[in-house]
């Protein structure tokens, strides 16, 4: 399964196909990512060249940071920092189900699911497992992809991401960058 960091890079570098807007977002997102991965396998050099033009990594205080000089990633992240999404992200430092988030944040359930879907689609949170809630129902458990996010908006737009180590280790993008 594709991880959150890769998803964010793919989603922002290859914008959505507006003609398919009637379909379920998850299908579109997964379909697009599958297409991107096929293209990547066919022509990895082209993708790497594109990636290295915008992404780089550096170590600071024993922590790996990813620097992205790209407007599209900035647009994706900044549209996801509304008050409700901030609340959701603050609760997802530890893995939680949507119901846990609902009980702690008091965000209306419909809004909560809409925001969670959007955050997941954009790669800011990832499903990490399934939890049994009661005898008949199960629910997805979500966790945050990034520890820190910093956006510098000015003459040059720069995003610095501190990705969780477990996610970075399994990332196609990070492996390709190395």
């Amino acid at each position: 399964m594709i991880n959150g960091f890769d998803r964010l890079i793919f989603v922002s570098k290859f914008p959505r196909d507006e003609n398919n807007m009637n379909n379920n977002w998850h299908e579109i997102s997964n379909y697009r990512i599958k297409t991107i991965l096929t293209k990547l396998q066919k022509n990895p050099n082209n993708f790497l060249r594109k990636l290295k033009q915008t992404c780089s990594y550096f170590k600071h205080d024993q922590v790996m940071h990813i620097e992205v000089k790209d407007d599209s990633i900035m647009n994706v992240i900044s549209r996801d920092l509304d008050p409700e999404s901030q609340k959701i992200l603050s609760l997802l430092d530890t893995p939680r189900t949507p119901l846990d988030i609902f009980l702690k944040s008091e965000i209306p359930l419909t809004t909560l699911y809409r925001k969670i879907n959007r955050l997941e689609k954009d790669g800011l949170i990832i499903p990490t497992g399934i939890k049994k809630i009661n005898k008949n129902s199960k629910s997805m458990v979500y966790e945050k992809t990034f520890d820190n996010i910093t956006l510098y908006i000015g003459l040059k737009n720069i995003v610095i991401l501190t990705v969780k180590n477990s996610i970075l280790e399994n990332s196609i993008v990070y492996t390709a960058m190395k």
Binding site: S78, R79, D82, S90, T150, L151, I153, G154, L155
Partner: protein
């Protein structure tokens, strides 16, 4: 009228109730109208009438009150030669996030971050082809206080028209491990010198 003061005035006005109480706010409002013939928002934008009126009521204690009031909206930081402000007001922070999260608004704000331009030039430089959309976005930004009038400029057809710019030069948004947001704004030096509000906070902090 300073561009930075125009931007901050609306948010400072929201904190007047909690700082002075409703009755005192009404008294200040009435006195401003009686003496200068201007509204509370205009007084904050021009800063000096607001400062004088508060001194009339509170004397020297006004200094502390003004700083306290302004620090509910922002805190001034100076690192080396760079002066920046950290946003404390949640409504202001959300407005900035919403505006810089919208691709078209962000492009417009970046186009006018260094110099003032007429609306037609802004739309051309921001590559916004639809005039209706462009004017709607610009009007929204003016209402939000992120675009402020700043002198005059020649429009594309050679007419002298109102020019607009944003006082914000750079914006840094940081989200830490517990997802608390820290938004810092940087302004041009010439605009900081013109701002009565920032000068007041900065002088008190020194």
């Amino acid at each position: 009228m300073s561009e930075i003061d125009s931007l901050l005035a609306k948010f400072i006005e929201c904190h007047l109730d909690t700082q002075f109480g409703l009755d005192m706010k009404r008294t200040i409002k009435n006195r401003l109208f009686e003496r200068y013939g201007i509204s509370l928002t205009d007084a904050l934008k021009q800063y000096e009438p607001f400062d004088r009126t508060l001194r009339e009521f509170f004397g020297q204690a006004a200094d502390g009150m003004i700083t306290q009031l302004f620090e509910k909206v922002c805190i001034v930081k100076k690192t080396g030669l760079v002066t920046s402000i950290q946003i404390k007001d949640k409504i202001f922070a959300n407005l900035l996030l919403e505006s810089y999260g919208n691709a078209e608004k962000k492009t417009i704000l970046l186009v006018v971050s260094s110099s003032a331009l007429s609306i037609s030039k802004i739309l051309k430089q921001a590559n916004i082809s639809s005039q209706t959309t462009g004017y709607r976005i610009i009007n929204n930004l003016i209402d939000d206080g992120l675009l402020v009038e700043s002198g005059f400029d020649l429009s594309l057809d050679g007419k002298k028209t109102q020019a607009y710019r944003t006082p914000i030069k750079k914006i840094n948004i940081a989200m830490d491990r517990v997802s608390t947001l820290d938004i810092t704004l940087e302004f041009s030096d010439d605009l900081i010198k013109k701002s009565g509000i920032l000068t007041t906070i900065f002088t008190k902090n020194r």
